[in-house]
C-alpha cells in the first residue's frame, strides 16, 4: 500500500472508468478484438490499483465476495454455458442463441456470452487472489 493523496484521488476516478472499459471490452469481444480474458485483466488491474492506493483490507470490503468464490462462480458460468447444449440435444459447448427484433436491429444473445462472462470472472478472481496474497503477506 502506498500512502499518497494523489494516487488515492486518481484511483477513485480511474477505478470506475477502468471497470466500465472492461465491460466494454468484454461485450465487444464477440465480433471484434476483446473478450472475457482481456476484459477480466483490465478489471483486475483496476482492483489491484485500488488495493495499492487504499490497502488490501479496503479491497476486500469493495469486493464483498472472496476472490476465490468469484473465480468459482465464473467457472460455474463457463460450465453451465457448455452444458446448456444438453437441453437442446447438441454436443457439449454447442452455442445456443436467442434473437430479438427484426431486420437490421436484431439483438443476439447466446451461451458464448455466458461463457465469456465466466472467463471474465475467473480472471478477476484468480488475479486478485494472487494480488491479495502478495499484498497481505507484508502486513
Amino acid at each position: 500500500m502506498m500512502d499518497s493523496l494523489i494516487l488515492r484521488t486518481a484511483t477513485r476516478l480511474l477505478l470506475s472508468l477502468m471497470l466500465l472499459f472492461s465491460f466494454f471490452i468484454l461485450l465487444r469481444g464477440h465480433n471484434e478484438p476483446g473478450g472475457g480474458f482481456i476484459g477480466g485483466l483490465i478489471a483486475a488491474s483496476a482492483f489491484a490499483l485500488h488495493s495499492i492506493a487504499f490497502g488490501p483490507r479496503a479491497l476486500r470490503t469493495v469486493l464483498v465476495f472472496d476472490p476465490r468464490s468469484i473465480a468459482g462462480v465464473g467457472m460455474l458460468c463457463a460450465i453451465a454455458a457448455g452444458l446448456f447444449s444438453a437441453v437442446m440435444g447438441d454436443a457439449f459447448l454447442t452455442a445456443g442463441w436467442l434473437h430479438w427484433g427484426e431486420g437490421d436491429a436484431v439483438f443476439h444473445v447466446g451461451t458464448p456470452l455466458l461463457f465469456d462472462v465466466g472467463v471474465f470472472l475467473v480472471v478477476i478472481g484468480a488475479v486478485l487472489t494472487i494480488v491479495l496474497a502478495l499484498e497481505e503477506e507484508d502486513v
Binding site: G72, M75, G82, A91
Partner: protein
C-alpha cells in the same frame, strides 16, 4: 448424444472442483461434495467403458465443429480403460484423503486441486487433439505443483521446485514440437495427423519432431535419463497426494507416448522405436538400482515407479501386438499396485511414526492384516504368480522373446528379481524386525478409530482385491488389452471414427 459419454468424465470432476471452491468455508460439506464427486466420476467412467466395450471407438466433436477444425474427444479401449482406472483410483484415494490430509491443507484448497488434477488426467486420456492434450497437461501440472507444495514444509518446497523446473522444460519442448508439427502439416487433430504425416516430404525433419515429442513425454513419464525429478519430489507431500501422483501422473506421459508413437510417428520405427527400447532397458535398470540404495519407504517406491515405467515403454518399443497388449496390461496393473503401496506406506507411518526403515519395525507382530495387504501389491510388483504383475511381465517377456530381443528380455527378468530384493527389504525392515524403540511402539489397526479403519484400510483392501482378481481372473482383462492393442496397431478405425468414413 453419444458424445456426452465423453464429456461427463471431464465435466464431473471440473464441476466438483468448482463446488469445492465455493464451499471453501464449509469444511464438512466440502468433504462430502469431494467424495460424492469422486464417486460420480467413477460412474461416468464406468458408463464410458461400457459404451466403448459395446460400441467400439467413440468420437465426439465439441461445439459441433467438424474434425479436424474443432476439438475432438475420442475414446478407444485404451482411453476408456485409462479413464476407468483413473475413476477407481480417484475415488479410493479421495476417500483415503479424508482421513489422511490435515485440516490446514484442506483449508489451503486440497479438495478443489485434487479434482482439478483428476480433470486434467481424464482430459489427457480422452482428447483427440494434440494442442488440447497440451492444455490438459497444463491443467494437470498446475494442480500438481500446488498439491506438491501444499503445506509449505521445507522439503516439500525443495521437491516442488525441482519438479516444476524440469516439467516446465518438458512443457516448452512439447509446445515447440506442436508448433513445428503444425507448421509442417497444418493440423493438430491426431487422426488427421495420422493421415497427413506420412505425406510430408521432409522425412528427416519429421523424425526430429518425433524425437522432440519423445523427450517431452519422456520427461513427464520419468524415463532414463530424465527421471531425477521424480524421486526428488514424490516422498514429500501428504500420502494421498503422492499416492495419486504415483499412480496416475507418469502414466499420462506413458499414455501420450503410446498414443503418438502408434498413431502419428510410425514411419521411422527402426529409429524411434529402437531408441525407445534402449531407453526402456536403461530406465528399468537405473530405477531398480536407485531403489536399492534408499532407506525411506516412499523413496524406494518412487524409484520403482521409474523402473516399472521401463516395462511399459518396452511394450511400446517392441511394437508387436503382444508387446502392446503387455504395455496396456502393465499400465492398468501398475496404477493399482503402485497407488496401493503408497497407501500402505501411509498407514505404516501412522502406526509406527515414520517411513524411515531404520526407525520403524514390528508391524508384522502388531498388525498382521497390514502385512498381508502390503505383501499382495509388493509381490505383484515383483511379478510373483498368480498376481496381476506376473501376467503383465509374462506377456511382455514373451513378446520380446518372440521377436528374439534377448537382451531386453534378460533385463526385464533381472529387474523383476531386483524388485523382489527391494520389496523384501521393506518387508524385513518394516514388518519383521522389532521396532528399534521397543516392542510396544507399533500400533495395530485395531487402535485406529472406526472411520480411520474404513477410510484408510478400505481402499487398500479393495485395491488389493483388484490385484488378486486381475491375477486369478485374467482373461477379461487380457481381452480388453488385446482389443486396445489391435486398435493401436491398426489406426484406421480410430481415424474413421474421428474424421468419418472416407472414400
Amino acid at each position: 448424444m453419444l458424445s456426452w459419454y465423453l464429456v461427463a468424465p471431464i465435466a464431473v470432476p471440473m464441476t466438483t472442483a468448482v463446488l469445492c471452491i465455493l464451499l471453501a468455508t464449509r469444511r464438512d460439506l466440502q468433504r462430502i461434495v469431494s467424495a460424492a464427486g469422486a464417486g460420480a466420476h467413477l460412474v461416468a467412467a464406468l458408463l464410458l467403458m461400457a459404451q466403448v466395450w459395446q460400441g467400439g471407438i467413440l468420437a465426439g466433436q465439441m461445439g459441433q465443429w467438424p474434425a479436424p477444425f474443432g476439438i475432438t474427444l475420442v475414446a478407444d479401449h485404451l482411453s476408456a480403460v485409462m479413464v476407468l482406472i483413473t475413476g477407481i483410483m480417484g475415488l479410493g484415494v479421495g476417500l483415503y484423503s479424508l482421513r489422511d490430509v490435515d485440516e490446514n491443507r484442506e483449508r489451503s484448497g486440497f479438495h478443489p486441486l485434487y479434482h482439478v488434477l483428476l480433470t486434467g488426467v481424464t482430459g489427457s486420456f480422452i482428447t483427440g487433439d494434440l494442442f488440447n492434450l497440451y492444455v490438459w497437461f497444463e491443467v494437470m501440472l498446475i494442480a500438481s505443483f500446488a498439491l506438491l507444495a501444499l503445506g509449505s514444509e521445507k522439503v516439500q518446497l525443495d521437491g516442488a521446485i525441482k519438479y516444476a523446473a524440469i516439467n516446465l522444460v518438458s512443457t516448452v519442448m512439447f509446445l515447440i514440437a506442436v508448433a513445428v508439427l503444425y507448421g509442417m502439416t497444418g493440423t493438430l487433430n491426431m487422426a488427421d495427423l495420422a493421415v497427413r504425416v506420412p505425406q510430408v516430404e521432409q522425412r528427416g525433419m519429421m523424425t526430429t519432431v518425433a524425437v522432440m515429442f519423445m523427450i517431452a513425454f519422456g520427461i513427464k513419464s520419468a524415463v532414463f535419463p530424465l527421471f531425477f525429478w521424480l524421486p526428488a519430489s514424490y516422498h514429500t507431500p501428504a500420502v494421498a497426494v503422492s499416492a495419486i501422483f504415483a499412480g496416475l501422473l507418469t502414466k499420462v506421459g506413458v499414455y501420450a507416448l503410446v498414443r503418438t508413437f502408434t498413431l502419428i510417428f510410425t514411419d521411422d520405427v527402426g529409429y524411434t522405436h529402437d531408441a525407445l527400447l534402449v531407453v526402456a532397458g536403461l530406465t528399468m535398470l537405473t530405477g531398480v538400482l536407485g531403489a536399492a540404495a534408499q532407506n525411506e519407504i516412499r523413496r524406494i517406491l518412487s524409484f520403482h515407479i521409474i523402473s516399472q515405467i521401463g516395462y511399459m515403454i518396452m511394450g511400446l518399443a517392441l511394437y508387436t501386438p503382444l508387446g502392446l497388449i503387455g504395455a496396456v496390461f502393465y499400465l492398468v496393473h501398475h496404477i493399482i499396485v503402485k497407488t496401493n503401496l503408497f497407501l500402505v506406506a501411509g498407514v505404516a507411518k501412522r502406526l509406527t511414526g515414520s517411513m524411515d526403515l531404520k526407525k520403524i519395525g514390528g508391524l508384522y507382530k502388531s498388525s498382521p492384516l497390514l502385512a498381508v495387504l502390503f505383501l499382495i501389491p509388493a509381490l505383484s510388483l515383483a511379478g510373483i504368480p498368480p498376481l496381476s504383475g506376473f501376467w503383465a511381465k509374462f506377456v511382455l517377456i514373451r513378446a520380446s522373446l518372440e521377436i528374439e530381443s534377448w537382451v531386453i528380455a534378460a533385463v526385464a527378468i533381472l529387474v523383476g528379481l531386483l524388485t523382489m530384493f527391494s520389496m523384501t527389504k521393506i518387508w524385513v525392515e518394516a514388518f519383521w524386525k522389532p521396532h528399534p524403540d521397543g516392542d510396544d511402539r507399533s500400533l495395530s489397526i485395531g487402535d485406529l478409530t472406526v472411520s480411520e479403519r474404513v477410510l484408510l484400510i478400505g481402499p487398500i483392501v479393495v485395491f488389493a482385491a483388484l490385484t488378486v482378481a486381475i491375477g486369478l481372473w485374467t482373461q477379461p482383462f487380457l481381452d480388453l488389452a488385446t482389443r486396445a492393442s489391435a486398435e493401436l496397431l491398426n489406426p484406421a478405425g480410430y481415424i474413421d471414427a474421428v474424421l468419418g468414413a472416407r472414400p
